[in-house]
Symmetry: C2
Subunit: 539 residues, 2 copies
Amino acid sequence: MIPGLMQTTPLLTTSILNFAEAAHPRREIVSRTVEGRIHRYDYAGLAERCRKLANALTKMGVASGDRVASLAWNTHRHLELFYAAPGIGAVLNTVNPRLFDEQIVYIMEHAQARVLFYDATFAPLVERLAAQMPSVERFVLLADEDGHQPGAVGAENYEALIAGEPDTFDWPVFDENAASFLCYTSGTTGDPKGVLYSHRAVVLQAMAEGLASAFGFTAFDVVMPCSSLYHATAWGLPFAAPINGCKLVLPAEKMDGASLQELIEGEGVTFSGGVPTIWTMYLDYLKKTGGSTGTLQRVVVGGSAVPLAMAESFKTDHGVQVLQIWGMTETCPLGVIATPTPALAELGQEALDQAIWTRQGRLQFGIELKIVDDDGNEAPHDGETSGALMVRGPWTIQRYFRQEADVADADGWFDTGDIATLDEFGFMRITDRKKDVIKSGGEWISSIDLENVAAGCPGVKVAAVVGVPHPKWEERPVLVIETHEGANVTVDGVIEFLTPRVVKWWLPDAVEFGAVPMTATGKIDKKCLRAAYKDRLMA
Amino acid sequence: MIPGLMQTTPLLTTSILNFAEAAHPRREIVSRTVEGRIHRYDYAGLAERCRKLANALTKMGVASGDRVASLAWNTHRHLELFYAAPGIGAVLNTVNPRLFDEQIVYIMEHAQARVLFYDATFAPLVERLAAQMPSVERFVLLADEDGHQPGAVGAENYEALIAGEPDTFDWPVFDENAASFLCYTSGTTGDPKGVLYSHRAVVLQAMAEGLASAFGFTAFDVVMPCSSLYHATAWGLPFAAPINGCKLVLPAEKMDGASLQELIEGEGVTFSGGVPTIWTMYLDYLKKTGGSTGTLQRVVVGGSAVPLAMAESFKTDHGVQVLQIWGMTETCPLGVIATPTPALAELGQEALDQAIWTRQGRLQFGIELKIVDDDGNEAPHDGETSGALMVRGPWTIQRYFRQEADVADADGWFDTGDIATLDEFGFMRITDRKKDVIKSGGEWISSIDLENVAAGCPGVKVAAVVGVPHPKWEERPVLVIETHEGANVTVDGVIEFLTPRVVKWWLPDAVEFGAVPMTATGKIDKKCLRAAYKDRLMA
């Protein structure tokens, strides 16, 4: 080969900020603040405040490669950290405040952040754990100057910190493979693991995300990320929105129906995304108030499978398209998105909707997928055969932070821990987590498929299925049901509901009623359930 | 900084081919052949034939870094070369067959291609010049095996060459900055200059091109590139289409109204693009036949300014949106594209249309623009002040092939040779080529603006304006008019038409009638006109 002679300009996150300021300076960014008011500025305003913050960080002694931590909601101040910290070559460690104390302490110890920026909401948490965060030299409260509370940690005020700084800053140009974000996965087993995003991965993912195969953003879109900024950079929306000139609406932590509706109606939101729970609450709110979804066009759902009733209600009652996505912290974070294709459309609207709502999504440029059997042989793309889902590509993890060995194999394949199928249309469907799949007499039962069916049983609010030890079949399913208030659901009723809907050997060996425990990221805590029911079928 | 820990998978053009095969295997590619028939296959078929071709190239001894030349139209065989040659690490030199013999000989001598692939159309050209192409070891005719004509150069047949090859090939993985394409600019002065695209530049440009700020492709689009594949990779469409799952329609050399209409109607084309001449002919054809544009939604026009009448006719008569673009071989090739923004839309539909049709386009992520005055100071973005247009970014040229020095300056800025304005909406308007702007008494007259006005004068087919030496004002404009057949256009009539439409000192000092000479790329040959009229005002 001979080298090409084009510019090798690095793909840095500041190139997104600079572009937005040059191309869309007056496009608005609207943020609910933790204080409760609405803050408004635009991409020019964001860029200016990011430069002030970059000066402040530099003055604090934050150097290239240093970690800066945040414990913060979806606000404009957190967004400023998203650009300023990586912009100076530092690494923003977005800590998930919903984790257990010991996990947060572990992360702070592991990441060794020198500065911690936090919202007032988390002042008690910070004060409780500060002594166990010896790497942190400075605490900064993301709050208005008025009524600033330094608290026991003697926090500085964010606004005071940047107030006197110059609004010019020469963003350094460095290797695009430099680290930009450090996001920890909060698996249900073992310690959190750090994924160290490069600038290149973030920028490429943001470019890909704007394509019509993914979010299909236009300059007319108004994007409200309801997935948390601390959760794998809120699906990259803080980067994909400015690349496409979209207005950005940040809802802070207010995910209740009324608060979302205020922003959706008031700001003309066209696109939003988050876990299903939020959207179920939102639809309930609309039903109660008789409100409409206004300009909303698309709702992207990730984190867990789309409840069909929700997708149908959005479509039928409000003309809003629900799209599923699948991704992981390790894929920076988007893997696949369920968007229409001509081949699917040929099957008719109903089949198209079903496909979109029941599959996690289709292949996107930049993420290669394969499914393999226990021996590592590639499984056919028939939509039936499930296997371990492996991914690779320019925004897939190579190695966890501070680990000695790669987590991707020699060919770059990363084992997602999911069990999935791939079909002829390039659509992927997650059938289970590898650790949750139920191994019954050598055959697999998908806990997720069983939950999805059980969730349709009248009166059922949450259905959870775990495999527990069985004397004869190795494992058998136990179904745990949390019912709606006042609903009368019986074991016999549930079995009767399931019988015509699943093959006989999938029927759970026990049905239990009670509250279903959830993890910090809003997923069913199967580890906890497995522990609770481990002896249920061994008697 | 510390290195991120994501995969550093190189961005190679084969990643696009592999993606299209995995995600959109059955999406069609329809090509008119030079033989006249319609060839149909799909992305799986393309990938398979590319692997066979890669095997054939390897067997021929084409090694990584070697140049392979093509003299070919927009067909599926040329498309296969687009993927197979760069795919094995070689460089595809797409030679413009419309250049003069001496330019083609210069390019072949400069590029040193070892193999030349050519369409039957160019057999006479190849035979005429073969003796002056000593680097070429093998000639391959891109044609059916039936009726193959080896000619004086003893050409092999393309189909025979790949027929026996295995359809498996392990595409090598190499540095994304490796060269992929070699495209020569055909400036009107000096020798052609080679622009050596890297794989990275081509892939990044293709990703950016699919965004809504640019072509906004969806998987439902049917894309027909009417810009030549040999002309800066036909705007990158052979790469942007598969990334977005678009059906691809290749019209060979048949750009007449009837041939285009056959494909637009028959294949459901939604998106096409090319120089204005093609679209004027197409609209004339529709008028004559009473035909409709069918599924066509967008027509992108580049190469020269959009004639307003054409844009209006497309919109009013057919509901088709015309979009302008600007780019250069040196920008791989897209620079800006005129797509709507909310800020523009607020001005109303008419203002929006006018803005879109009269400006080359708006800032795209990945291409930075600035305009500078004679002293290199940046000019304001007021839509009025014009200056030299400078660009930089990851798909902008650094250095021409085989040159000793960079053509980009130390900060990466490449001087486009265009004079332009930038406005508050991020839109750029080319007012002239630097060498064509008319310097009259220290003030600038835009030859393009004057041409655009004169083109509106009844009976005028082509209007060309050049600045020629003037004893008092340094330069003054001469207007050369080619009239429609049978039209009666007079000097007085033209001046009368122009007077209320331009400031007085812009009025041409002479109006001449005659055929307007064109360059090989379909632009007005101003060098030729300046020579013809150099003494016109000196008498």
